[in-house]
Point group: C2
Chain length 346, copies 2
């Protein structure tokens, strides 16, 4: 690989001049610049990032930690980060957890890995991390932004939609359609955003005169498998409900699948509401009505906040994110359906 010295030699100029042409800083006589550019072309010279990083102390590299790359939730986030970053000539390096056990250790290791790789900044998503973990990590690399979760000790570096409100929106959607008997398929209790949306849902129910005690909640794990199994458990429990609120779309899809298997048609016999409005909601059978979280805006704001920290730029950052529901086909009025337990074919 040609170096800038080769370029300088070929162009018959000094090292400094060649460098000035490459980086575009400082003044160079037009004729000289042209000669240098020709040499660059001829040698197919491209500056070494390693050398630049060494000198500048900046790698132009942002690390992203994602607990698991499965399902449709995280992919748009990565896509967004990559696009934004690459537009600015920087790049993204990713570390994934591999799911299953010991997520906390995985998260710590993953983030550590990214820090060791000299990332200028980090974007972290994890429910398994504890407050003290993030604090410890932050000591090594203060440029951290957290998505979809808030740590009290660093609120201004956390970007998260108001899931308490999101839960309320979900409840309203169902109440609006005259539903009064509910079931809930919740995410894991360890997930902060899950508990917020469930709490929001229950609060709104209470506010509208429905006793949260009457709703049967099953805790699951955000996966379609979990949704499927929860739907099964729900039906087995003989609890009466005309609508199910699922804490994310993946579980809703799993539930849809189970209902279909048992001949309980949606929405004719049960209404189903999803959450997140991810791609899996769009073409499920039936298409899933879901609470829409503007994840793109959340991501961009978080990223911008990070870039502002790392490179003192002044990118716009937004802290409030509107939540609404995307209406599709999985919800109808209950007088058009009979209670789920009434005639399950199972």
């Amino acid at each position: 690989m040609a170096t800038i010295k080769d370029v300088a030699r070929l162009a018959g100029v000094g090292l400094g001049t060649a460098s000035r042409v490459v980086s575009g800083k400082g003044s160079v006589a037009p004729a000289t610049a042209k000669r240098v550019r020709r040499a660059i072309e001829q040698l197919n010279f491209r500056p070494s990032h390693a050398a630049r990083s060494l000198l500048s102390g900046s790698t132009q590299m942002i690390g992203v930690y994602i607990p698991i790359l499965k399902g449709t939730f995280y992919t748009p986030i990565l896509q967004t980060i990559d696009a934004e970053l690459r537009a600015g000539g920087r790049h993204m390096v990713v570390a994934f957890g591999h799911g299953s056990a010991d997520e906390r250790r995985q998260a710590i290791e993953g983030v550590q890995f990214l820090i060791n790789r000299d990332c200028d900044g980090l974007i972290v998503m994890s429910n398994a991390l504890l407050e003290k973990d993030i604090v410890a990590l932050g000591r090594e690399q203060p440029n951290i932004v957290v998505l979809n979760r808030v740590f009290e000790s660093m609120r201004d570096q956390c970007f998260c939609a108001d899931h308490l409100h999101g839960g309320a929106v979900a409840a309203q959607a169902l109440l609006q359609h005259q539903h009064r008997e509910f079931a809930v398929i919740a995410g894991p209790a360890s997930s902060q955003d899950n508990v917020a949306r469930i709490a929001g849902f229950m609060n709104e129910l209470r506010r509208q005169g429905i006793d949260p005690q009457t709703v049967r909640t099953i805790d699951s794990d955000f996966s379609p498998e979990g949704g499927w199994a929860s739907a099964k458990a729900l039906l087995a429990s003989k609890h009466r409900f005309t609508a199910v609120f699922c804490a994310n779309d993946e579980m809703a899809v799993g539930a849809l699948s189970y209902f279909q298997e048992t001949g309980l048609t949606v929405p004719q016999r049960v209404s189903v509401l999803g959450y997140d409005d991810t791609q899996s909601a769009e073409y499920s059978a039936p298409r899933l009505t879901s609470v829409h979280i503007p994840l793109r805006e959340v991501t961009v704001s978080g990223l911008n906040c990070l870039l502002n920290r790392c490179y003192d730029s002044l990118l716009p950052v937004q802290r409030e994110f509107p939540i609404n529901v995307t209406w599709r086909a999985s919800i109808t009025m209950p007088h058009q359906q009979r209670s789920a337990t009434a005639h399950p074919r199972t």
Copy 2:
């Protein structure tokens, strides 16, 4: 950030000695090593990758280009690459295309970007790239491996399941269930692996005495939207069929969604077969029977081949990949169903 000089000074040793302890090469007296390690601990020293790269000429970084991160096809690939790489202390940097128009230019730019970032090697997936593009790119960085597609000029760097055979497997699955009237929802004609699986499907049909002319094929785009629209077009065309072969799961899911909307129950009235056996097949409604491609093995083999090139390791590489079908609920015998066009409720 502490440097190795600080470590040496604090430990009261020379630069070389400190370096020997850090890298674990060369001999150091146990007592000295201990002092150095303590200094490392105390200063929280971590070696600079930039400096190492500069000296060694290797970044320990593998670039991955993916045309678009949407749906469930590419995510397990990324997950696999990340896990394998990270286990070896290396890391992955990703560049995505943003879909839509001009995929070829996007792919070239994306790969160029990765090359400029000094990746030691590249994994590329793209149907839009031309033979000459990959050749040109290969001149700049010869360590390239291509997944799920084969370029004639670099067969040994391409890892791809035998989709011609995959298509045949698909046909057999349907024929086995007594189907004789078919429709096909195909991927884009520009996609090499798509045309292979369709050709394989048709060949097998012919071999078993069915005229491929009698099957109605609709070209689509691998997306659920496309599958949905194609299913609609299929029904509108009044073509008779008892089974649909979809060239990937995403389109199959879209088709399932459309069939559900129009009351055409699957598999009672139409059988649907997917391809790739991705996660979207697992919890669709009904669960989708799909041709299983061992994508993990393909990915690992490709990656290993690349690592062998980059770091002359001797990781195992596999070139033949078994294809079979994962049976779920979307296929049944046609005498249990009536031809799709017979009574569409539409």
